[in-house]
């Protein structure tokens, strides 16, 4: 039952990830951490880090969470459920591209969703920040990583690895 529910959540979340890969985070956090308590805040944030440092899209973090929740089967099912809605949507859109592109319903609803997901992501980041930024050094690492990723072209993967090294040295 847990596995079915887990897969269903991933299917819904991936079908609603509009405006960037990170948009899935607020939904996943609500369902997996707050509602069903399958993961702690800490495990969730570690999953994001793993999704970021592994090759491929952020979606890979779902395999990590799937493994944590339901073992190997959970990891494999997580990836299938994450990709399934995308495959269906793309094969349909590729066929009816021009109708889709001109569709007033799609365009105007997306215009509402795109700014809204930024607000959602901000709310989740604050609650994760509250759980994670507990002292001077963690604050410092967060501010440095924000500035480096936002204002330089350095790959976030290196920033995360660097922060891991900093963590090992500091604590």
């Amino acid at each position: 039952m847990i596995l079915l529910k887990f897969c269903w959540i991933l299917i819904v979340v991936n079908a609603l990830t509009i405006g960037g890969g990170f948009v899935m985070l607020p939904m996943l956090h609500k369902e997996f951490v707050e509602k069903y308590h399958w993961l702690t805040n800490q495990e969730f944030i570690d999953a994001i880090a793993i999704g970021q440092v592994t090759p491929g899209p952020l979606t890979v973090m779902n395999a990590f969470m799937g493994y944590k929740i339901y073992g190997l089967l959970g990891a494999v099912m997580a990836m299938i459920s994450s990709y399934l809605p995308c495959i269906i949507i793309i094969t349909l859109v590729a066929k009816y591209y021009y109708t889709y592109r001109e569709s007033a319903i799609v365009n105007s609803s997306f215009k509402g969703i795109k700014p809204a997901v930024i607000g959602l992501l901000a709310a989740v980041s604050i609650s994760l920040g509250k759980a994670y930024l507990v002292d001077f050094s963690t604050f410092g690492i967060a501010i440095v990583s924000f500035s480096v990723i936002a204002f330089t072209k350095i790959d976030p993967t290196f920033v995360i690895i660097g922060a891991g090294i900093a963590g090992a040295l500091l604590y």
């Binding site: 990830t17 800490q42 880090a49 952020l58 795109k114 994670y132 967060a142 963590g167």
Partner: protein, 154 residues
């Protein structure tokens, strides 16, 4: 990743024309689902229909998934290890910084007038203060988008 796709697929192997590539990127960005995933599937689909789409998925997800599973095994086994806890403390703080920078980048691209700002702020408060469900909030903001922008695009 997208510039890498372009160099490999368009310039080196000439499997796609530049226009087809641009169209795939656009489709990836305007369809539900993570954009990189969707762009990849779209390119696969253009090349070999559904077989191509499935092959792309396997190619794109395989290495990362295997690595994520190995890391998960490692993560569960070493739980409580002092060194790992301190590494993850630094990593977690960096992820918070990463999220903030993503928000900053998305906001500077998307939030342009008072309407878009209002959408973002209401979603923020609905989740942060009223603890509403993000899935419901995304659907609701789509409906509000239809109401606000729907009439003018027609």
């Amino acid at each position: 990743m997208l510039t890498f796709f372009e160099r490999e697929l368009v310039e080196k192997h000439k499997w796609l024309t530049h226009d087809e590539y641009i169209e795939s990127v656009a489709i990836g960005q305007m369809t539900p689902g993570p954009p990189i995933v969707n762009t990849g599937i779209c390119i696969g689909y253009k090349l070999r229909k559904i077989k191509g789409a499935l092959t792309t998925v396997v190619g794109q997800a395989f290495t990362g998934t295997v690595l994520a599973i190995l890391l998960a095994i490692f993560y569960i086994k070493t739980k409580g290890n002092v060194l790992l806890i301190s590494i993850m403390k630094g990593v977690g703080a960096a992820v918070v910084g990463l999220l903030l920078s993503i928000i900053y980048k998305m906001a500077s691209k998307t939030i342009k007038d008072y309407k878009t700002a209002l959408f973002a702020l209401s979603a923020f408060f609905a989740l942060a203060v009223f603890k509403l469900n993000p899935i419901g909030l995304i659907l609701a903001s789509g409906i509000f988008g239809l109401i606000v922008y729907g009439r003018r695009t027609r």
